[in-house]
């Protein structure tokens, strides 16, 4: 084989004239392709069903089954199969019909050999590009799909279900949850599962920008609209055409921008700064916040009308401390992720370290967990991640729920968590724990039974 190795490319030549089959075969073999022949559409279709070809070069006029019928059947059987049809001058109309049926191109006989080579090369290149495109789209869907959100807890299962349901609709969605809970991932998953998935996903963190900058970021501007506007620029809303616009930290925008945004949602029109030309908007809006918007409305910091416009469908993302069942899964996920990046072999997490990770309150949620694992992988000296690799705050952790955080914990909840903490501290030694708690062993057992406290391994 020469420099261009085509021997792995299989071409089926279909023509009722033997001399045409031979002439083309000789030529294609000189080009380095692997070639097989069939004398009519029927025989060719049998071959197509038995073997994977890359390209079929078929004459249109043939007995038994003509080239067009073969094209229809062949494409139905293998949509990736490329077809080039051959015709004489008299049947160019039929060749055009073949293109409409899905043939890549047609060759009018007789033709310069170089042209045949070019058409074949183009069709094969197109096929490769089509395949790459399919793989990339699949990869994109996978990367931003639900699979990227880690969680098996009931709460997360409910969120996954909600993502699938809302993705199909065009409704405006508001995602609410503490900082670091993965609100943007959920917005991306909605986009990836929606009809708009091949459109852009444009995200803007509204809270990080001063009001004037946010305005130009959202709406874009015309050249000369303000000092420094040296050229026309599209805003994020316009950039999200046919796709999804994700507005994070929506609770932090000024009342003026709230009015502008409300108008966009109501009229589906925008005006670039410095322009009177309206631009029609076709973008789905998803917003997110960690703020208590209801309280903001009461205090006059957030417009009630915008709140109702944005809050058509709400997805509440639970904080990590309220879905502790997912922590081991997340730890494993981030270990693998860091392992691939750092080439460091951390294969396991000690049970003690895992307990600490599960019990910690995670005020920074999943983002904090990701950082803790990344740090631990870097500093760990053994293949097993131990308590020594964790930051002090995590090492000293004991279970804290959202209720506790909010100060509404009951006396029995407090007692349960205290017993658990002392049990953890004493490695579940009942005698030591009862001594520390200044109660006898029987009372401790009764309390453990009452609060359904069981060792993780039980």
């Amino acid at each position: 084989m020469n420099a261009e190795n085509n021997s792995g490319i299989f071409i089926l030549v279909v023509d009722d004239e033997m001399i045409v089959r031979q002439s083309l075969s000789n030529w294609l073999m000189e080009e380095g392709y692997s070639v097989e022949t069939a004398e009519n559409g029927k025989d060719a279709y049998i071959k197509i069903k038995k073997k994977k070809y890359d390209l079929v070069l078929a004459d249109i006029k043939m007995p038994e089954m003509d080239g067009i019928e073969l094209l229809e059947l062949g494409k139905k059987f293998d949509s990736e199969l490329q077809f080039i049809v051959m015709t004489a001058y008299a049947s160019v109309d039929t060749a055009v019909k073949a293109i409409k049926e899905g043939a890549f191109d047609y060759i009018v006989k007789p033709v310069d050999p170089e042209n045949v080579s070019q058409v074949i090369r183009r069709s094969l290149k197109y096929k490769i590009l089509e395949k790459e495109n399919r793989i990339l789209r699949r990869e994109l869907e996978r990367k931003h799909g639900i699979d990227e959100i880690i969680g098996k807890s009931k709460k997360m299962e409910e969120i996954f279900e909600l993502i699938r349901t809302v993705a199909d609709s065009e409704s405006i969605v508001m995602i609410r949850g503490e900082s670091g809970t993965g609100k943007e991932l959920i917005a991306k998953a909605i986009h990836a599962h929606s009809k708009r998935k091949y459109g852009p996903f444009i995200a803007l963190s509204c809270g990080s920008l001063p009001d004037t900058l946010l305005e130009s970021e959202l709406f874009g501007y015309e050249k000369g609209a303000f000092t420094g506007a040296q050229s026309t620029r599209k805003g994020r809303i316009e950039m999200a055409q046919t796709g999804t616009l994700f507005l994070d930290e929506i609770g932090d925008i000024s009342l003026k921008t709230q009015v502008d945004l409300l108008r966009v949602i109501q009229e589906r029109l925008i005006y670039r700064l410095g322009s009177t030309e309206p631009i029609e908007i076709d973008a789905r809006i998803i917003s997110a916040t960690n703020r208590d918007l209801e309280a903001a409305i009461k205090s006059g910091g957030f417009r009630e009308d915008l709140y109702y416009r944005l809050n058509v469908i709400t997805i509440d993302v639970p904080p990590l401390r309220d879905r502790r069942d997912d922590i081991p899964l997340l730890v494993k996920y981030y270990l693998n992720k860091n392992h691939m990046g750092n080439r460091k072999q951390i294969t396991n997490v000690s049970s003690k370290a895992m307990e600490k990770l599960v019990n910690y309150s995670w005020p920074g949620n999943v983002r904090e967990l990701e950082n803790v694992i990344e740090r631990a992988v870097v500093i760990s000296k053994t293949p097993e991640l131990s308590c020594d690799d964790l930051p002090e705050s995590v090492k000293n952790s004991s279970i804290t729920t959202s209720k506790e955080k909010e100060g509404t914990v009951s006396l029995s909840d407090k007692e349960k968590s205290h017993i658990l903490e002392i049990l953890e501290a004493n490695d579940w030694n009942i005698s030591k724990t009862s001594r520390d708690l200044k109660i006898d062993r029987t009372t401790l057992y009764n309390k453990m039974k009452k609060y359904q406290i069981k060792h993780r391994n039980e």
Partner: protein
């Protein structure tokens, strides 16, 4: 099985000096013995006409002699001044079986943009030699090469033949070396 000897068969009266030059070139490039035989010699048993009007039906001719190969002959390269005919292709300079024993070259288009001046004769001879080496290269299993300087590069117009060299690129040389080494 590889070629050890190649016989050139002129299909019309062709300048002896020109044939001699081709024999030397092919002998030098492929390290094989070469000679010239006549059409009458190889068609002494069967009398067939491979012409459609003024053109030679190259595929049919190659197929026929592949199946009716005179025993004492090792490889055949037909040479003609006429155009070649294929039901598929409009204009080509030669045809050969890949890894086969029979090929054909035509000088019909090779005089394009040239006249009888001495310099042009040199260009014509160079084109003919390159096409002969190209087609015999196919007999040795070489396919078309993307390197524009390599003799196995596919030439669209006669002017393209002038651009490429009369020798093989390093890749094709390597393939040829491996092919001939397996004799």
């Amino acid at each position: 099985m590889n070629l050890e000897k190649l016989s050139i068969v002129p299909l019309e009266i062709i300048d002896e000096k020109l044939i001699h030059q081709l024999l030397l070139k092919l002998k030098d490039v492929f390290k094989i013995t070469t000679d010239q035989i006549t059409w009458d010699y190889i068609t002494q048993i069967d009398k067939f006409d491979f012409k459609s009007g003024l053109k030679y039906r190259s595929t049919e001719l190659i197929n026929y002699f592949s199946e009716n190969f005179p025993g004492e002959i090792n490889g055949l390269l037909f040479i003609t001044t006429s155009d070649l005919y294929s039901p598929v292709f409009a204009r080509y300079y030669g045809e050969a079986q890949l890894n086969g024993k029979v090929g054909i070259i035509s000088s019909f288009y090779l005089r394009e943009n040239l006249d009888e001046k001495s310099h042009d004769s040199v260009i014509f001879l160079a084109r003919l030699k390159k096409e002969a080496v190209h087609e015999v290269g196919h007999l040795f299993g070489l396919t078309h090469c993307p390197d524009p300087n390599c003799v196995m590069n596919l030439s669209g117009k006669p002017g393209d033949i002038d651009i490429k060299s009369s020798s093989f690129c390093s890749n094709c040389s390597e393939v040829l070396k491996n092919t001939t080494a397996t004799v």
